[in-house]
Symmetry: C2
Subunit: 219 residues, 2 copies
DNA sequence: CTTGACATAGAACGTATGTTCCGCTAGAAT
DNA sequence: ATTCTAGCGGAACATACGTTCTATGTCAAG
């Protein structure tokens, strides 16, 4: 995969192929490309097409008329970016056990269960995974049975983040707003009528992920 | 636009064209269609293609190899339908006022503010509108400040629905699970630790919409 | 200078592909 | 019965289209 600069002609060719395909529902022929871009010889068009294949911008099927398609690489560069992202659903979350984390090496595929979320609901799109809440033990986080929480796998956190934490001494998972206060850590329930938990020894606390989104489907 | 019934062959042709186009990025040739559908003669494929054009399922460009494209009419019928829908955000919801409802005649467009939701999060897609929760007054529904509730404008409701109701006597909007119990109505908070409200006189109760989805964005 | 890689142009070639024409059959209409 | 039409199959045809070959010009490296 060379990463060389495209010539002006080649960019125009890509543009034309995209435009033509959208307008007509099928790709242009070599001669149509040549005519539009201003190349008299079909062999030159052919030559540059192979160039573009080498650069990874499109793929061709030999001996097939109009047998070319744009690569995702190019489509992604041209498109504003697809608006919906798939988030793997890796398990359930409840008070009695630590959060099941996705195995770091596991690809996004492979997980058969996933939810689709529009990108604009999320501020970040990396290292996301989803969990279904089991039981009513997270009520102080205003999260109920069946709700889906989308979390981000992240090591560090900042004051005010809502995180999933595993409390070693209590052997309990909870969702709380987290604040560092000197040597101590304050875990603040989302429900303002409830009291915070103060952790004197941060060793007892294991942040497992940052909550990015909560979705509750009724019906 | 005739509306005649398609023959088995013609449906298979449409299916194949769609499938082939998705896989290869360009439409199949007449001979490829014939081979796949089981037609030995190119003229027959051609004949049926023209049939389909007459019926409005696709359009062709004469003398152009692979010069066919599916019509929107067919694409709409075949496609599961685009997966993301826009829901207009018509206002805010808080305890002190009735739910702001979208004007019934207002088109989905025109409203500039909207949120995009993937369809699989919703069981229905008609008459939806979204509201942003203001304040902490809905906490007994496990809904907090800034949460977004997606509601469905619907006249009737069934036991167990979560609805937005306007309580005439208390002059208050709340989100509750609703149950009919004889002549009375029970409004059950989502938070199981809280007590239900019993409405003796259903006249005091005005169901404004059915809650379909709650979304909480952190950060 | 020569050499070689790169880009281009033109022409010739082979074939993949759409088009057309003729013949056949089954069924409905006359 | 005859006629007409819709649908199918086969073959021949014309050409749109991808491929290949040769020739030319440019430019940096040797």
């Amino acid at each position: 995969m060379a990463k060389k600069q495209l010539t002006d002609r080649q960019t125009r060719m890509l543009d034309f192929i995209l435009q033509f395909s959208e307008e007509n529902g099928y790709p242009p022929s070599i001669r149509q490309i040549g005519k539009n871009v201003g190349i008299s010889s079909t062999s030159v068009v052919n030559y540059n097409l192979n160039r573009l294949v080498e650069e990874g911008y499109l793929s061709r099927d030999q001996k097939v008329s109009r047998g070319l398609r744009l690569t995702e690489k190019f489509l992604k560069a041209a498109e504003p970016l697809a608006n919906v992202i798939r988030i793997p659903k890796v398990g359930r979350i409840f008070a009695g056990e630590p959060v099941p984390l996705p195995s770091t090496d596991s690809p996004i595929f492979g997980t058969d269960e996933a939810i689709e979320i529009t990108r604009d609901l999320l501020s970040s799109t990396d290292n996301l995974f989803a969990l279904e809440v089991k039981g009513e033990s997270m009520i102080d986080a205003m999260v109920g049975d069946g709700d889906i929480v989308v979390m981000k796998r992240e090591l560090d956190w900042r004051n005010g983040d809502m995180v999933a934490v595993w409390l070693r001494d209590k052997e309990e998972t909870t969702l709380k707003y987290i604040y560092r206060e000197g040597t101590r850590v304050r875990l603040q329930p989302a429900n303002p009528t409830m009291d915070p938990i103060i952790i004197e020894n941060p060793e007892n606390l294991e942040v497992q992920g940052k909550v990015m989104l909560v979705v509750r489907q009724l019906n």
